[in-house]
């Protein structure tokens, strides 16, 4: 069983202590690191303590807000120019200055070698619609309460085909298309076409390609 930690009381006490220390002038909010508090909240948050944690989170945010306010006051209260001049007049070591530069360096990102046309073409290629990969889904077997009865045709295929042969015998010889003239239904045309193909295969009916004529 997973054991859920609950640090809400502990964090709440910590925040209260910080406020008390700040009031006494023992510590400045600017000197305090608040990240561990938020990390503790984040790392131990779970469904069972979410209500308690949301209240502690509000307190922690208030603390952060106060820290920002203190920082803002600090920047506003400073007469930067004079203080900076004073600092330089204090003749700081070169090493000390270099330390100030640390973590302030920026590495610029340049695309000097890529032309605008190249990027435009890349953008067109990237935004082109792609065909999603085909996903093969297995069919689900559905349960049917009633007994499923597969209806079989009353006549066998051969019988039907022979009946068809008898009906067209009177027409033959005739053109291939004229066999289907009297049929208006696409399904019927398809059915009779299949019979005709079989009849051609077993040579009951013959076909002359040059004249497009069916004959026996």
């Amino acid at each position: 069983m997973i054991e859920f930690k609950d640090l809400s009381d502990e964090i709440k006490d910590k925040i209260r202590e910080i406020y008390e220390d700040v009031k006494r002038g023992k510590v400045s909010l600017l000197d305090l690191e608040l990240v561990p508090i938020f990390n503790d909240l984040k790392n131990t948050l779970n469904t069972s303590n979410i209500d308690k944690y949301s209240k502690v989170y509000i307190d922690a945010c208030e603390l952060l807000k106060d820290k920002f306010k203190e920082f803002q006051d600090l920047l506003n209260s400073m007469e930067d120019e004079k203080k900076f001049d004073l600092y330089l007049k204090s003749n700081p070591d070169d090493k000390e200055i270099i330390e100030l530069f640390n973590e302030c360096w920026i590495k610029t990102f340049q695309l000097q070698s890529l032309s605008y046309d190249f990027l435009e073409q890349s953008q067109i290629k990237l935004s082109r619609d792609r065909i999603p990969p085909i996903v093969i889904e297995h069919l689900k077997r559905e349960k049917v309460k009633e007994n499923f009865i597969l209806e079989l045709p009353t006549q066998k295929f051969t019988d039907k085909m022979n009946d068809f042969l008898e009906t067209i015998k009177k027409k033959l010889p005739c053109s291939f298309n004229s066999i289907f003239d009297s049929m208006g239904n696409q399904i019927e045309i398809y059915e009779k076409f299949v019979y005709l193909l079989h009849l051609l295969q077993i040579k009951e009916v013959k076909y002359k390609h040059e004249t497009d004529i069916l004959y026996i």
Binding site: F84, K95, I98, E103, C104, I106
Partner: protein, 174 residues
């Protein structure tokens, strides 16, 4: 992204707000809102690539940089092993900041005290960081350092350092 990552000349890269607005042919009263949205959305888009949109206050140009952590990882410091030169540049930055963008060579000399800075200024000029007017003996920063150094962060660090009284004025030797 193309315009923000393109080098213009020795000192400049990226584009100004006006240039971007012109490229996208934005007209009317909402151009500033459109520009802000454009920058914000692009910033979110490239964040995952470890890139960051910045503003150079020295020439009002927007440009793209690697994010802070990566900048320090990919050896962004152009003054590695040249502490004296970097310190002189720092002095120029503070002097120009205090004097509306112009610093006199004499003032810089006074602030750097015993260190002879003329050679440093010459190198800084050759490398494109400063421009010196020989007639008036005045020094100005080019926009270059604004692309290589987070000036706002530097001033904040300096303010905090002074605030925490870590710096105690040393007695000047006569």
């Amino acid at each position: 992204m193309y315009y923000l990552s393109k080098k213009k000349n020795k000192y400049q890269m990226g584009a100004t707000k006006e240039e971007i607005i012109e490229v996208f042919q934005v007209k009317g009263r909402n151009e500033s809102i459109y520009f802000q949205e454009l920058i914000t959305n692009l910033s979110k888009y490239i964040e995952t690539l470890g890139l960051y949109i910045r503003f150079n206050p020295l020439d009002d140009h927007w440009f793209i940089s690697y994010d802070d952590e990566m900048s320090n990882l990919v050896a962004a410091n152009p003054f590695k092993g040249q502490a004296k030169l970097a310190a002189t540049l720092f002095c120029v930055i503070i002097c120009t900041y205090s004097n509306s963008g112009v610093a006199r060579v004499k003032e810089i000399k006074e602030l750097r005290k015993k260190k002879d800075i003329l050679d440093d200024l010459k190198i800084l000029q050759e490398e494109g960081y400063i421009e010196t007017d020989e007639k008036t003996n005045e020094v100005r920063l080019t926009p270059l350092i604004g692309y290589q150094l987070d000036l706002q962060k530097l001033f904040t660090k300096l303010s905090l350092k002074l605030k925490s009284n870590e710096i105690k004025p040393k007695e000047t030797s006569n």
